[in-house]
Amino acid sequence: MLKLNLKDTKAIGKVMIAAILIVIIAIAGVASYYLYTTQGPKIKDTLIMGTTDSVESCLDPAEAYDFFGFEIIQSLGSPLVEYEAGSTGSMEDIIPALATSWEPSADGLVWTFNLRQGVMFDSSREFTAEDVKYTFDRGIGIADEDGAFVGVGIGDIIDSVTVVSDYVVRFNLKIPFAAFLSLMAFQACYIVDPTYAPMSGASWSIDDIVSYADGDARASNPMGLGPYTLKSWTRVAGKDTKMELEANPLYWNAAAGYPKSKNIVIQFYADSPGLALAMTAGDVDVAFRQLATNDIATMKTNSNLKVWEGTGAFIQYLCLQQDYAPFNDPTVRGAVAAAIDRTALVETVFQGQAQELYSMIPAGMFGHTDAFESYESPNYDLTRELLSYVGYNANNKLEFTLWYETSGHYPQSAQQALMLKEALEESGVISVTLEGRDWAAYRTARQQEIMQAYIMGWYPDYIDPDDYIFPFVHSVGGSWIHHNYASAQMDQLVESARGTTNTAERESLYEDIQDLMVDEVPIIPLYQGGAYAVSKPSVKGIFLDITQNWRHWLVYIEG
């Protein structure tokens, strides 16, 4: 046993040193435990993202109507409600953002939202119900034809917004609208900062849209309240060349550790090969949109990269002109539906990076059924049988022109058209001529209704089956597509489905709608695109769910 002689200074010195060491080790241990448990792995301050996208017009939700514009608006602003990351698009996945709770009236015509308190635009201005009213009065008042307020018809849904108190706001609707919460999570409905989105005249006009201001990022951005602020934004000749996002310390969810990355730098590339090369060379940490099928396939084989796969909400479908023969006859349309080889389309053209689609409502979304599977994919016997009823056979083939777009508006359009032609002609009773046009000419041809059969594509606005049904098979909602399908029975079903808030009832109505679509073949679903991002393996927090939202505030790089 060690005996300590208090007069032995050497011994005392040794004990003191030992004690100090123990204390240091203990402090270090506690500190490292504390750091480990509270901070987790170290996150790099700056994340570099590469894209081929560019803001199409501006970052004002009254005008912006493009994927990338929405992506940035989502980072610079906040909505009343939002979809949880990893959502399947169900109503249950809608979570509070600037609103903490909400309640629809029994008739579905009034929605009341209780707002989060203490959310600040800046050090002196608090977010209140007035700002919500301001945002919607503004968007509906400006009524820009280029914008989503007009495109989605928000002004046809919302009648007025009433401020009940500082923290309670009420929406009075013109029609009962079941997808109202989805609409509130839509980027056009993100709250603007009135200081940076002022009214210039006596009433709202398109002159009030906040456009890009060279050299002044703050003046180019009407948003506030988001996880990020816009540190810099440079455009050259109408295309983005530089964009930096910086964490907003006043973000309402900052205390929870969001955004994860303090700075996001966005690098812009002209096309998919350029972006893929930059990702492979390590110039960017993550690449998102638009990567071509081939580039994704190549990067999948690269062990230094991680390919993220998710649920796509983009769909493509075949429109048939029903104003004149031969497609004014549902039997002929059915024969074509039975001669579509979706497997070949998905496996050959998209190398498995897409999914066969048997309904206009994409798989993975509430209300979806594989209704068109009854036509099989393909069933040439059925095609021959149906066409024989209307006089077509191997000696008298059904002849029509299939149109497709050639300027890259849709992915691999020419290959798709060629694949469809081959599949249709395989029936032996159909003869197809292909005709390609660039997007501008294609749009004109669509409006002129000169295309017999044409391939179109759709990105959703709000994540609800209504957004995949109303714009296609309702006689008014679908007028933009010019295929001239109109059915009183269908209109009634669609209006009932968008009018009820009863989930079970809606589901049953959407099933009826899809069954009716199989009978009448107003439109033929083809495939559902996948969602892909590529990153360095150390990048975390990417969610590619059906909402198609890119949540910058969740993405980070460990390092």
């Binding site: 034809e145 000749a237 109408g238 812009f268 350029g274 090369l277 501008a440 933009w480």
Partner: protein, 343 residues
Amino acid sequence: MTLRTYIISRILLTIPMIFILLTTVFVIMRVLPGDPVLLHFEKIENPEAMEAMRIRLGLDKPLLFQYFDYIIGLFRGDLGKSMQDYSSVSQQIFSAFPATLELAICSMLIAILIGLFLGVESSKAYNTPKDHIIRVFGIVTYAIPVFFLGMVFQMIFGVGLHWLPVGGRIYQGLEPVGLVVGDFQLSTGLYSIDSILEGNVVKFVTALKYLLLPSLTLGLVLCGIFIRLTRSNMFETLRLDFVTAAKARGLNESTVTYGYALRNAFLPVITMMGLQFALLLGGAVLTETTFSWPGLGRYLVDRINFRDYTAIQGVVVVFGIFVAIVSLAVDLLYAYLDPRIRL
């Protein structure tokens, strides 16, 4: 004809050239199917709103009025507003032009340097394996598609060796500001020059790193014609009496070749430089896309897709003026180098 009247007549001749170009583009764009108004209405095609948009874009007036409106605007230096995003076309062109100019100058320099050097070497080694190799090199680079060569370089120098970035114009945050003294700022928009004016070596090196691959790509594609031209001219010049005389006086080989012979063989190369400039701008359209270079070429392609009449007309006018200025400059240089022109 004095040099001054020559210059004035050249400038005056440029005006009808631009007019013909502009009129052709004006008519072709409107003959092409596709309507800029329709592209603003993706889903709701409200006829009244579409008519309002037509008025807003000035497309409601008769075609002849539109044409004269545009020409009158042009004389005032106004290129109009974009039919896609309503921004000022002059401003957009002004923002993209320096990038294209920098790429064009650098590519032309590379093309001439490689062209002259290999051309001279080829002519000196006439009909030897070295000559054949250089000639094949010239033909191959001339025939190779510019985007393919660009992608090969990206694969080698960007992805493989990690020496150079595969795209873009500069690393974000390193944009040079040019010369700044108090309130005075001198900026050319050419990043390589601006970084020198700023005195920032890091930015200069970075700017060059981004510039190198696109300009090398475009330069190599253009150098073939210079190789062939230099080779045939030098071949003849090297056999002229004055070269023999220079050699007989004991001047060394390189002084004779580069100092005496090349200067004489250089004149057709200068002419070709002017002619190649139009081709260079065409090549820049593809190079800019391959290397995500934010210049006028990309802007033009983008706006054709939108049937943005005003923007397309604007770019064509600027390209036309650009080519006219360059060919004028080339003629002046020709006059300077060849005293016979001044007589």
